[in-house]
């Protein structure tokens, strides 16, 4: 059994069985990362191109390391140094990259639907590394992997996602992923940052942070961007922090062994207090390690089979 699609555009159209397969495949990949010699020949001769229309340190490095650990060649294209600034369309840029022989294109793009456009255009595999406010499936998969590893299960867990849901592709992919795996997702954030109809995706919207945290097994804190305050979506970061910031007092509302997660980069002292971010229950650093393992699994499942 493998993945049905040549691409990973989002978790919306991925089945629970496929998610299970990806997580199962990621476990041995994590073993490779822990070795002294972090290299297996699985994807030797294959090429992974990362195309990033948005700045990102973590996700891009994670994909590139994942490819390198599997012996694939990697090339990174960043917006500042590419022909994107010469007015070339996304479609033409991608066709050029594919014509050069890429096996996988990893795309980060500020606009929703960009990965789907690329997947439709190209014959090679496309992995969505975040498209606007749509999806960021590899982030959600690493979240699921982390929780499953710590808790031994996903079904029946209460997961709280806190913050700017409106602009968050991580939240959307997390909602699809957690609910498909049988967990319950509770959302909390300023009313102006809760998008209408999000309940239809299977999540529940809470009236307060406290309500979402009550008895939670997993707490996903989202990054709040200063830009949103400048857009008039909430009064101030100070007030945001007072109403929606996770601190050690509020953490006590959750289950005693609740996991604290954050997709990064963090605004410490705003959406999460430093003592919680670095506390006993935080798995934020492990999320990063697991991100590499999950991305290795994805590359292997998408292009490793027939090689």
């Amino acid at each position: 059994m493998g993945l049905k699609s040549k691409d990973l555009v989002g978790l919306h159209h991925v089945t629970a069985q496929e998610i299970e397969l990806i997580l199962d495949t990621a476990a041995p990949m994590k073993e490779i990362i822990k070795r002294n010699i972090k290299k297996v020949p699985t994807l030797r001769g294959r090429t992974v191109v990362t195309v990033f229309y948005e700045a990102s340190t973590r996700t891009r490095t994670s994909f590139e390391l994942a490819a390198k650990y599997l012996s694939a060649d990697t090339v990174g294209i960043a917006v500042a140094t590419s022909s994107v600034n010469k007015g070339e369309s996304l479609k033409d840029t991608a066709l050029n990259i594919a014509a050069m022989g890429a096996d996988v294109v990893v795309l980060r793009h500020p606009m929703a639907g960009a990965a789907e456009l690329l997947a439709r255009t190209l014959d090679v595999s496309v992995i969505n590394a975040g498209d606007g406010a749509h999806e960021h499936p590899s982030q959600a998969l690493l979240d699921l992997f982390t929780v499953r590893e710590k808790k031994g299960r996903l079904a029946g867990l209460k997961v709280a996602i806190i913050g700017d849901i409106l602009h968050s592709r991580v939240a959307r992919s997390d909602i699809w992923g957690y609910t498909k795996m049988g967990a319950e997702v509770y959302l909390a954030g300023p009313a102006t940052l809760i998008p209408p109809g999000i309940e239809k995706m299977g999540a529940r919207v809470c009236g307060s942070l406290e309500e979402a945290l009550e008895g939670a097994d997993v707490i996903n804190i989202l990054r709040i961007q200063l830009e949103r305050q400048q857009q008039g979506l909430f009064p101030s970061l100070r007030e945001y922090s007072r109403i929606f910031g996770l601190n050690s007092d509020r953490l006590k509302l959750a289950a005693p062994d609740a996991l604290v997660m954050h997709p990064g980069p963090m605004n410490r002292g705003v959406e999460i207090s430093p003592d919680v971010a670095y506390g006993q229950q935080s798995v934020i650093n492990e999320q990063v390690t697991n991100g590499v393992a999950v991305r290795m699994a994805l590359l292997y499942l998408l292009i490793g089979g027939g090689a």
Partner: protein, 428 residues
């Protein structure tokens, strides 16, 4: 040149009657109608089983000329109209330059006379450059041929200016066509705001962005006595506002576009940029209310908002694609399939909304098959089932979300001033 149209089912939207009879055309006018007509030297068009209606009028199209000829020209746009069964179109002023002066209106009228396959009636801008800052020379434009005024796509946000424009337009006995959208509420949105926009991560345009403006303009029309026509109504709330205003006697009329009574925001799933349109595709509830509004007369007109764009412009990220879809060559099929065959409208009602009603609103002597009227006639084959194939379009624009859809009802012939301009899909 005389023309005898024999054996068709004549739909008269003025009297609301549908009957089998012949129509004789002479010297570009309707010479008479009746059963078993004969004429010694008339070209005979035998159309048994086909519908013969007054020439269809589309009061909302974008012909893109002058300035945006890569998208469409008066030549191609009027041929698309002819293929779609339209004998007259009113074209919106968002050209380059904007049709905000008599000079541009005259250039459109002249180009249409030289190049046009069907009648073209320009709509002038309300404000200079449609920038919403100062009134354009509406009087001068009206004398030069402008049939209405609109800042379509660039709604007049300044309520004071809109009120003064209506006062002025009333003096000219002109109708103001309002594209109702509060730009601040729309907030740069890309599609209807709701569960689908949330799922897709696309910025939403709330229904209130339209309804606030519909309400404002109805109040201003009531205040000034100006005739107001609401363009492309897309929400249930807008339909209710217009219905309520009409019941109070406000001089307001409204139109709906085929895509707004056919598609919902579900069509956007997959990010097909041909679904990106302003106002956006709404919900099933909105579609149902628009159909109710069409049936009860709240919505007077069916107009396409034909908005051609190039493939290059549309073959991009959803956010970057321009708003708009073509509509001239699919309108009759959608009206027939979605409204007439579906039992939403009677045949006479549907034809009235595409002929006499828009003609009345624009003050045009069109929409009738009475003796002496201009012989603008559309013949429709109601039995034809056909598949939408943009490659067949006469329009330069291929941006339609209906590609591959099977429709019933196809324009068979288009006659302007007694001259056959389209027959069986071929523009003559």
């Amino acid at each position: 040149m005389n023309l005898l149209i024999k054996g068709g089912i004549v739909v008269d939207p003025v009297s609301g009657t549908v009957s089998e009879k012949d129509i004789l055309v002479a010297d570009g006018k309707i010479a008479g109608s009746g059963v078993g007509l004969h004429h010694p030297d008339a070209q005979v068009l035998d159309v048994p089983g086909k519908l013969v209606t007054p020439g269809l009028v589309d009061m909302h199209v974008h012909l893109r000329e002058p300035g945006l000829e890569a998208k469409e020209t008066i030549y191609t746009g009027t041929r698309a109209a002819a293929r779609g069964g339209f004998t007259a179109v009113a074209c919106m002023p968002n050209t380059r330059p904007v049709a905000d002066s008599a000079a541009v209106i005259i250039s459109i009228v002249n180009r249409a006379a030289a190049d046009g396959a069907v009648r073209v009636y320009p709509v002038g801008a309300i404000t200079n450059g449609s920038l919403g800052q100062e009134m354009a020379e509406m009087g001068d434009m009206k004398q030069s041929g402008a049939v209405a005024f609109s800042d379509d796509g660039m709604p007049v946000m300044d309520s004071g200016l809109m009120r003064r424009s209506m006062q002025y337009a009333k003096m000219l006995n002109a109708v103001i066509i309002s594209h109702c959208e509060d730009k601040k509420l729309a907030g740069g949105g890309l599609m209807h705001e709701g569960d689908v926009s949330t799922m897709l991560g696309l910025k939403g345009i709330p229904a209130a962005a339209e309804e606030v403006m519909v309400a404002r303009d109805i109040l201003l029309a009531e205040d000034t006595g100006c005739r107001l026509h609401i363009a492309h109504v897309s929400t249930a709330g807008s339909v209710r506002l217009v219905r309520e205003a009409k019941s109070r006697g406000v001089r307001v009329t409204a139109e709906a576009a085929p895509h707004h009574f056919t598609l919902t925001d579900q069509a956007v799933i997959g990010y097909d940029t041909s679904t990106k349109v302003n106002p956006p595709l709404r919900t099933a509830e909105d579609v149902a209310e628009i159909r109710r509004g069409l049936a009860d007369g709240t919505i007077d007109v069916i107009a396409t908002d034909h908005a051609p764009h190039t493939a290059e412009e549309k073959d991009v990220e959803y956010e970057l694609a321009p708003f708009g879809m073509v509509g001239l060559e699919t309108a009759v099929g959608l009206v027939w399939t979605e409204l007439v065959a579906a039992g939403v409208l009677t045949l006479a009602q549907a034809i009235a909304k595409m002929t006499i009603n828009p003609a009345k609103i624009l003050g045009l002597p069109l929409g009738s098959l009475g003796a002496g009227a201009a012989a603008d006639i559309t013949i429709i084959d109601p039995a034809a089932a056909w598949t939408v194939d943009p490659a067949q379009f006469a329009s330069k624009g291929r941006n339609t979300p209906f590609t591959g859809r099977v429709l019933h009802g196809l324009p068979y012939a288009t006659i302007v001033s007694g001259r056959l301009v389209m027959r069986e899909g071929i523009v003559l």
